[in-house]
Amino acid sequence: MALAPLIAAGPVIAAATEPVIPNYAAQSSSCEIHNDLFCGSWVSHNWGPVLWPALRDHILLALVAVGIGFVIAMALALAAHRFGWVERPTTAVTTILYTIPSLALFELLAAPVGLNVYSAEIALVSYTLLILFRNILAGLRSVPTEVLDAADGMGMSRGQALVRVELPLALPSIVAGLRIAIVTIIALTTVVYVIYNHGLGVPIHTALGEGPFKTELIAAGGLAIVLALFADGLLVAIQRLLTPWARARTG
């Protein structure tokens, strides 16, 4: 449960025998005591002990989830591209996974898997699958038949055509899927703390405490939003680098 004693309860912290919660250690400026809108001093004092570890874990959790999700979705999409019947069952299962609300899915996984990083990652990965699968498959299918015929005529094998023609042409759709997935997962990772006490959800949870501590909420929440937008922008930049022909056409 929330053990976050607010600044107002400062003296109590000093008297308590339990370990001091790092967020509210020692220094508390008047800004913090009055719970002003945003205390820069709190952020600079707590960047090292609180915010940075949370941000780092958040990034790792999200990256691992999208990475694993991408591998699985790519395999499924390639299978569905080759064997059409794979699409329906995959779409059905991934839609159900996507539909289950995060808080519920975390708890449902915590029962068999335990309160650990594995249940957190399984849940996060399951949310990426529908998005990535649909976008990769749509990308692969958007390749014009004439282009494939040309590849065939040039003597490319099926595998060569896939790697050198289909996947590059599907790239914009694949990156579009990755952008949606990473942004969604970064947002969802804030709830991971209920089963695995890591990520930006941790300082948010602490800050919600008894009477919410605004600075910590704005700092941690802001970091989550900025991280998502940054990741989105980064993928756009990567896509530009990887698809020079798209630029050549428009420019």
Partner: protein, 239 residues
């Protein structure tokens, strides 16, 4: 799997926990969740559908309509709720505002994309037949945009149900999330039982909306969709 058996017992007892009297019934919490969510979705529809459809009809504001969706996705429910709690206190009104903030973007984006993507020739034909702007929207553009429009509405409904339960983490009382956030009273079996109810509720809501979508999608589009689903099979094997 023992926990799941216990969880189903908890559901069968309608949320009663032996030795802890005075807990609300699970059925009531489910209805409350549904009510809070329904209000959020309804308000969002009133705001977002006309906006998205109107922008799509004019083929304007694509930057706004598409980016509002991108930014909306980046907003974590918990952050929106927590900030609402910090500044206004988390009553029903603030929760509904948070729900609307999260539900409007996907509806606007998809309504825009749906209407904007309607074949211009069809719109011209409608005009040529003497349809007014309103008739063009209601009889041509909206029906043809129905699949995408409903994709947006279903996404929004998911966000809303999910966020309604997460609201409990930010201190809002009156949803199934109350049980999940209160393991002390309910034990893990109760938390798991409530999670099962939340999952079932979300799947039911999505299924119900899918049925409505099927009903409202014009028959021609449905046939086309089926043909497209079958198509790639034939294309898959190069000569």
């Amino acid at each position: 799997m023992h926990e799941f058996v216990e969880a189903f017992h908890f559901i069968a007892r309608d949320g009663a926990v032996p030795g802890t009297p005075g807990l609300p019934s699970l059925a009531r919490l489910t209805l409350e969740t549904l009510k809070v969510s329904a209000i959020g979705v309804a308000i969002s529809l009133v705001i977002a559908v006309p906006l998205g459809v109107w922008l799509g009809h004019l083929h304007r504001g694509s930057f706004l309509a598409i980016n509002v969706g991108n930014v909306g996705r980046a907003l974590p429910s918990l952050v929106v709720l927590a900030i609402g709690d910090a500044f206004l206190g988390l009553g029903l009104t603030v929760v509904e505002v948070a729900l609307v903030i999260l539900a409007v973007p996907p509806i606007v984006t998809n309504a825009y994309l749906g209407v904007d993507g309607v074949d211009r020739d069809l719109v011209d034909a409608a005009r040529g037949m003497g349809m007014s702007a309103w008739e063009t929207i209601s009889r041509v553009e909206l029906p043809l945009a129905a699949p995408l429009l409903f994709t947006g509405i279903r996404t929004a409904a998911l966000f809303v149900v999910s966020t309604t339960t997460i609201a409990a983490l930010a201190g809002f009382s009156g949803s199934l999330g109350d049980v999940i956030a209160n393991e002390t009273s309910y034990h893990f079996s109760g938390v798991l039982g409530a999670a099962i109810c939340v999952a079932a509720l979300a799947l039911l809501v999505d299924g119900a909306l899918l049925l409505v979508q099927r009903r409202l999608t014009p028959r021609g589009l449905r046939l086309e969709e089926r043909a497209r689903a079958r198509g790639p099979l034939a294309e898959g094997a190069p000569a």
